[in-house]
C-alpha cells in the first residue's frame, strides 16, 4: 500500500471542516491536523510538515491567502484554497499566493478528490523542476567562472585552452576541491595584481 498523504485542514466552520475531513479520509488521506484560524494552521504546518494543506480563504487571525503565501514561499506544501465565491480579485490574490487549487463551496467529493490529487502531482513536478533549474544554474555559473579562469591562465601563462582546462582540473583533483573553487581562486589572485 502506498504511503498515505498527510493533510492539514484549516476551515473555520466546524461542519464543513468535518465534512471535508471525512471525504478525504474515505479516499485514504490521513488528517494530521485541523485548525479554525490561520495562525494555528501555520504553526501546525510548520511542526507536522504535511504533504498537503486545505485552507479556507476567509480565516480569522491570518487569512487563507496570507497562509498560502507563506506556505508556498517557504516551500512547505501545496495549498488548495476553498471559498464561497470566486471574484476576480480573490482569484488574482490566490494566484499570487501560489495556491495549487481553488474550490468553490459547497465542495463535493467529485470536485475535492480530483483537485487534491492533481495538486499533489503538480506540486511534486514543480519541486523536481525547481531542483533541476537550481542544478543547471549552478552548472552554468561554474562554467562561466571556469571559462574566465581559463582565459586568465591562457593569457598569463601562454597556455592553450585545453592545457589551461587540464591545469584547473588537475589542481581540483589534487586539492580535492571543486573546479569552481579553483577557478574562483585564480580569478581572485589575478584581480590582486
Amino acid at each position: 500500500m502506498p504511503r498515505q498523504h498527510r493533510v492539514v485542514i484549516a476551515i473555520n466552520d466546524d461542519a464543513s471542516r468535518k465534512n471535508i475531513g471525512a471525504m478525504l479520509q474515505a479516499a485514504e488521506f490521513l488528517i494530521i491536523g485541523e485548525a479554525t484560524d490561520g495562525i494555528t494552521a501555520l504553526k501546525l504546518i510548520r511542526v507536522r510538515q504535511p504533504d498537503l494543506v486545505i485552507a479556507e480563504v476567509f480565516l480569522p487571525a491570518m487569512s487563507g491567502l496570507e497562509l498560502a503565501r507563506i506556505v508556498s514561499d517557504d516551500k512547505l506544501a501545496p495549498v488548495v484554497l476553498i471559498s464561497s465565491n470566486y471574484d476576480h480579485a480573490t482569484l488574482e490574490e490566490a494566484k499570487l499566493a501560489g495556491a495549487f487549487g481553488y474550490l468553490v463551496k459547497p465542495v463535493g467529493e467529485a470536485s475535492l478528490i480530483p483537485t487534491v490529487e492533481i495538486a499533489l502531482s503538480n506540486y511534486s513536478e514543480v519541486v523536481r523542476l525547481e531542483e533541476q533549474v537550481k542544478e543547471l544554474q549552478e552548472k552554468l555559473e561554474t562554467r562561466k567562472i571556469v571559462e574566465k579562469a581559463k582565459g586568465i591562465l591562457m593569457h598569463t601563462l601562454g597556455l592553450t585552452e585545453a592545457e589551461a582546462f587540464r591545469k584547473i582540473q588537475k589542481q581540483s583533483m589534487n586539492k580535492r576541491i571543486s573546479m569552481r573553487a579553483v577557478a574562483e581562486a585564480i580569478i581572485l589572485a589575478h584581480s590582486l595584481d
Binding site: I39, V47, P60, M62, D74
Partner: protein, 442 residues
Amino acid sequence: MEQQKQEIMEKARQLGVKFVRLQFTDVLGVLKNVAIPVEQLEKALDGELMFDGSSIHGFTRIHESDMYLRPDPNTFTIFPWRPRDGAVARLICDVYNPDGSPFAGCPRQTLRRVLAEAKKMGYTMYVGPELEFFLFHVDNEGRPLLETHDQAGYFDLAPVDKGENARREIVMALEEMGFEIEMSHHEVAPGQHEIDFKYSDALDCADKIVTFKFVVRTIAQRHGLHATFMPKPVFGINGSGMHTNQSLFKNGENAFYDPSTPDQLSQECYYYVGGLLKHARALTAVTNSTVNSYKRLVPGYEAPVYLAWAQANRSALIRIPAKRGLSTRVELRNPDPSCNPYLALAAMLAAGLDGIKNKIQPPKQSEMDIYHLTTEQREEMGIPSLPGSLKEALDELKQDQVIINALGDHVFEKFVEAKTQEWDCYRMQVHEWEVREYLTKY
C-alpha cells in the same frame, strides 16, 4: 561607485529581483521603507529618488518636504524569504536635502558625522551588540499575547520550546543575509532569546541592528509568533537588553590594548570608560529611550543600575571582558533594543571620545556586587545611579552639551520633543497598578 552600481544591477538581474526596498530610519529608530520596482533601481542608485519627508517623524516641516534617498551600495542584500513572483532586495539609504547636503534629521548621517570626528582623531569604532528579544504567541485573532507557552497544547511534538524552531530559521535567514552569528541561545526568562553577531565597524553594525530587528519580526510572524524588542514586557522576569561591546582601532591596532600595563588596558581605554561614565546619565536618554526602558533598569534582573565599572563584575554598568589583544573591548550594559542604534552608537562614541580628549579618569573599579550594597554604602563609595525614568534621563540629556552636539541640534530637538510627549502621555494615564492599589483603599 559606477562599477559598484553595475555590480548591483547585475546581481539584481541574476537573482530575479522584482522589488527593491529603500530603507532608512526616523529619529525614533523606526524603520521606514520606500518600495520601488526593479526598473527604478538605477535611478535609485544614482540618488535621484525623492520622497515626502513631512510624513515621517522627526524629519521636516511641511514646506521642506522633498528629500532625496541616497542608497549605500554596501548594504545591498536579498531577503531570504522569497516570494514566488520574484525576489525582494533592500538598500539602506542616507537622506539628503534637495541641494545635495546631508539632511540633519537623518540618524545615519548623525552617526556618520560622529564617526568622521573619531576618524580625525585617528580612531575607527567597532561594535558587537548582544540583542535580546521575546517570542510570544498570538491569539486566534492575531493579537500578540504575553504568553510564551501554547495553551491549546497543539504543539506537543516540539520537545522544549516552539521558539527554538523559529530562532533557528531566524539565524539561517540572517546568515543568508551575510551576518556572522556568534551565538544564539534561549535566555533566562521563558520565551526570551539572544542572538549575537560578529562585531563590525559602527555604521555597518547599526545597519545590522535595524536589519536584525526587521528579520526577527518577519520570521516570527511567518511562524505565527510575535517577536518584541520591548525592554521589559513582563514584570518580575528579566527584560531585554542590548549590551554593546565597543572598541576603538588606531592604525589597525586595538587602541584599548596595551600589553605593557598590568591589566593590559591602555590609557585610552581608561579615558573612554571615564567618558562613558561621565555622560552615562545623559546617554541613557538615547540608549534607553522608552518609558518602559526604565522598568528594566531596576535591581535584581541582571540589568545595570549603578554607575560603576569592573573587569569581572557583571552587576556593573561597564564591564571589561577578560579577552585581550584585538578583542579588548568595553561592554556597556544599559542599552536596550528599543533605542535608535544610529543615535545610540553616535552618543556612546561621543561620550568615550570626550573622555579621551579631556583625559577623564574613571573612578576606581568596583569588584564587589553593587546590587547588594545598601544605599548608604553606595553613597559612601560615591556610586551614583542611572536615571530612574525617561523624564529624569531627558533632563540630564538637556544639560549635556557633548551628547547634544553628537546628536546635532535638529535631532536633539525632535528627539526631546517626541520623547517629552511620550512621557506626558504616560504620566497622565491611570495605570492598572494604581487602580488595584487605590480603588478599594480610598
